[in-house]
Amino acid sequence: MKNPGNLQLTTRGDREIVMTRDFNAPRTLVFDAFTKPELLKQWLLGPPGWTMPVCEIDLRVGGAYRYVWRQNSDGQEMGMGGVFREIAAPERVVTTEKFDEAWYPGEAVGTLVLVEHSGITTITQTLLYQSREARDAVLKSGMEKGVAASYDRLGDVLASQPETKQKGASQP
């Protein structure tokens, strides 16, 4: 079977993350999968071990959405939400987004564009952050866990790089 996969992920300019990927399905269906809670809950889960107990979507311009993920092993939760700015089903949705305990300043604007060609739907998801620092903070976190966990992991990663020079910090 054709593997539609192959996610292209790049940064654009200072403040954006751009993702492009093909799906082997008509555009209307892909649009539904991104905007209907009962579908979204089945795939937008992040790393293994996380579920999405809360997924509320008021799909109209100005309407709010709210997502909460939960790591079942330790009960850790992380929430995110925003409002719909533009909806043009099934080709375009613009939302604002902000994590409850955002580890980066400001909210982001997400633009999802869906294009169908010969039964294949190509999505382009753009996340525009308020600053380069915010964008980079998101990239660095890998969005794997909540804030604390992100920083823990960051600490691990930094600690595991023996050649890292600690500028101005006293070393053991």
Binding site: M1, N24, W43, K140, L158
Partner: protein, 127 residues
Amino acid sequence: MALDQLDMTFAALADPTRRAILARLANGEASVLELAEPFAMSQPAISKHLKVLERAGLISQGRDAQRRPRRLEAKPLAEATEWLERYRRIWEENFQRLDALLEQLQTAQPKPSEKNRKRTQKKGDHR
């Protein structure tokens, strides 16, 4: 600290001219003059970009005192790529689940098109 390093790396990579310079240096070291050649830019303008790249640790200067060739330093670039890759992997896991869901949905409600019928026979092929 490594985080500052990473910030500088991302900042340095945000500019298309600087990315082009890095791409050129990936093919081997080059002098400022050689680097300026493909761009419609003055040498001082190129030197400015080179300084940003140098500060970010992405390039260094060679020994040859006359040519002062610049060369690529691979490690910071590899680290920045690693962050991107980590982030990419999480989304790819999401999207692979979405692949499976989309296929399942199309199997559940077959539409009268050939493509859909074909897909229904290929369940379980996704990862």
